[in-house]
Subunit: 465 residues, 2 copies
């Protein structure tokens, strides 16, 4: 099933472990915070550092791709085999803001190894997980005696993921020919836990809109007029309240169109995971679960679409009271989408449904942002099977389970533009503290990531041929 003797891979990784960790630490010292203009130069420096490191690793092509914002890094290492499939790895080199006073025990940009963990901003999200591809491809070559990878390997490492990837879609569209691939491997996710290795098979998409509701020309006296004219804040509230029925199903006609029912097999795979509601709630910083009847919590966040109010505002919000009928109200809604849903169809359905809920005397405007499509790779897709096999070898034959991601990401743009299936390979764990103080990566798991990719390229080359 593979051409790579596992022991050779492990030996190579063990021999190069210290240099690999030293290089990662050097990269983590560059505070590539894309959200803070003061760090613009650092983000550029991070891209340059990575491009140089990829060239040093052996990638014949390693380029900085500028965008109107922060630069991305593109690298390519052709297989040399005309029949070899092409794989594109996605990650990002920018990081979340971090400051010692936020609660870090060490300086966030001075990485430290303590008890088998490397602490530092970006250790897990996402520099560590990008970086395991460097040693991984070298181990793949060393163990197989190849001089080029078994697949045509491409890397696209963007610099604005932590700022919402504002220029990513345009970048991918303008460079689509060079990015063309048979499969996309996203290394910007994680596993269920240290002891439960998993592969993520999909992400939800998202569509969002802003609704403005206009009633009286100005705030008017609720005594003089109250009870006789429509209140736009009431209209806003009624729209939100009408989004769901008593079972928390979304009521918008057509909203669920195209969604295949969850199969028994899919439900069993989710139910196999050692889910603990109390600890999930702690992560969610929440005090209770509430969701669509007939689905478990994991099914709700991974496999079901949502209609959520992200913001609502209208009338007087200062201290004390003010007896007015507000002149206007605003709503920000977002809809998480799952495989089968078409964002354009959802937008049309929402627009019509909202319009039907506006009483005479109230005017409304509704504007949608750019949607992100859902992506889901079938469990029997050969590339997904490859990832599972490679990961299982790295994890000593342990059973690999499956997760999904409730969030939405730029990976969907790669799927859309390149028409390639998206696979997720990540070894981060929930305790790694993404976006939080004391972010870390487990070194054992990081090296499992290296080992997985060392096995993956050969396996994928065979599976996709």
């Amino acid at each position: 099933m593979s051409d790579t003797p596992d022991s050779a891979v492990r030996t190579y990784i063990e021999e190069h472990r210290d240099a690999f960790l030293g290089d990662l630490a050097e990269w983590l010292r560059i505070p590539s915070v894309s959200a803070q203009p003061a760090h613009d130069a650092d983000v550029r420096r991070s891209a340059e550092w990575l491009a140089a490191k990829l060239a040093e690793t052996g990638f014949p092509v390693a380029e900085i791709w500028p965008t109107p914002g922060a630069p991305a890094v593109f690298a390519e290492w052709p297989s040399g085999d005309p029949d070899a499939p092409t794989v594109l790895v996605y990650g990002h080199h920018d990081v979340q803001p971090a400051a010692r006073e936020d609660g870090w025990h060490t300086e966030p940009f001075e990485p430290q190894i303590v008890d088998g963990r490397m602490y530092g901003r970006g250790a897990a999200d996402d520099k560590g997980q990008v970086f395991f591809h460097t040693l991984g491809v070298r181990a793949h070559l060393a163990a197989t005696g190849r001089t080029a990878p078994a697949v045509n390997l491409k890397l696209l490492i963007e610099g604005e993921e932590e700022s919402g990837s504002p220029n990513f879609r345009a970048l991918v569209e303008s460079r689509a020919a060079r990015l063309a691939a048979d499969a996309v491997i996203v290394s910007d996710t994680g596993m269920w836990s240290e002891t439960t290795p998993t592969v993520c098979t999909g992400m939800r998409g998202v569509a969002d809109c802003e609704i403005s509701l206009y009633g009286p020309d100005q705030d008017i006296h609720s005594g003089s007029f109250g009870g006789a004219v429509p209140n736009p804040a009431t209209v806003a509230a009624r729209i939100v309240a009408a989004l769901h029925d008593a079972d928390e199903h979304v009521t918008i006609p057509g909203f669920y169109d195209g969604i295949a029912p969850l199969t028994d097999a899919e439900r069993e795979l989710i139910a196999e995971l050692p889910f603990d509601e109390a600890s999930w709630l702690t992560t969610a910083k929440s005090y209770g679960t509430l969701g669509e009847a007939g689905f478990s919590t994991l099914e709700r966040v991974w496999t079901r679409p949502t209609a959520e109010v992200n913001g609502i505002g209208g009338g007087y919000q200062g201290p004390g009271g003010k007896t007015i009928i507000p002149s206007s109200a605003q709503l920000k809604l977002s809809f998480r989408l799952v495989a089968g849903q078409d964002p354009d169809h959802v937008e049309k359905a929402v627009r019509q449904w909202v319009a039907e809920r506006i009483p005479a005397g109230v005017r409304h405007e509704i504007a949608f942002g750019a949607a992100t499509r859902p992506c889901l790779t079938s469990l029997d897709h050969p590339a997904l099977q490859s990832v599972v096999r490679a990961m299982s070898r790295a994890f000593d034959g342990q059973k690999i389970r499956f997760t999904r991601e409730g969030g939405s990401g730029p990976a969907a743009d790669l799927q859309d533009v390149l028409g390639a299936p998206v696979l997720f390979l990540g070894v981060s764990v929930p305790s790694d503290g993404w976006h939080a103080p004391n972010e870390k990566v487990e070194l054992d798991l990081l090296l499992k990531g290296v080992e997985t990719t060392a096995h993956l390229w050969g396996d994928l080359a065979a599976a996709l041929r």
Copy 2:
């Protein structure tokens, strides 16, 4: 029915008209804006000016009553007759802010008479309507040959009405003995129109509350958790939406307790008024009517209680979108109350109803402000009949119709604390522009107010004896 020959009253008023208007203009020149600290001294000066003018008018007692805010003026003129009833007149000497650049055609604090109207801030609200009591009582004395009014006449003219009367209730409670009266006459309202003289028979009360809803400890990611935890903004919206049924009836159990059904007679009196919905909507700056099924617009704003959202806020309200589940949401609700409703009972009903709507995982707090009770004087109350008779004489025998006021005011405190019925005597008209630029009073109507009070004291003395 009266001891005052109408012609003598008119002659007296005609002879003193110019001096009366000159004095009023002098008072209007004092910018007694209670809401602007820069005018604190002007508000005090206004109180002193009025107290001096009331003493000059003949009131043996004319005092400044300090409060923690702006001072009130109290004056008293005993009848001398041990059987005479006591009447307390309420008004206010503070005014709304005004500046030439708001759209005034003249300086707001330099009153001008143009085409039978006096323009200036406070001309109608409320200095003009307070001031007609000075010439009124003199005309009453002149026409009857009395040296003291037929009733024990008291005036309480507060200085903070335009700032929400924050100290009024405490003032009335602490001075209840001196304010004791058999009837209260509020001269801070108006009539239906120039051609339809009316008496207002009541005001709605108001109770208000602020509800805070707490979900996750901080805003959380709507992708990672959306669809599985309660959203406090959704809970807020559901509370607002559940306030009314499809007929716009308030759904809170017990909310309508104590309200007597509107009688056919009451409905006919309201229907008699020349109501024009288009012009009412213009005044309401609104584009449609919406209210409780089975009631006309005037019935809705005068005779029916409401549940209104004055403010709602939760989650992200800035530009663009943010895919979060908000940590908290806030609601400001107010409930207009009508005769028969008990604010304490309403508060209890709302608290219980809200508590039943909070899902597991959401915590709520609810705080009520001080409520203002509704007040309504029965159409067959002898004091109300007196006001109608006196007004009809001033208006040349014209039929006096009845209105109510949808707003709520400090008059209710007088009713509550003093236990006296509240009657409304005002001659302002909707075109007078309360709180707006170019506020004015119609001089003909102002003098009708003088004339009404000249007739009223003798009539009331007989009616309440």
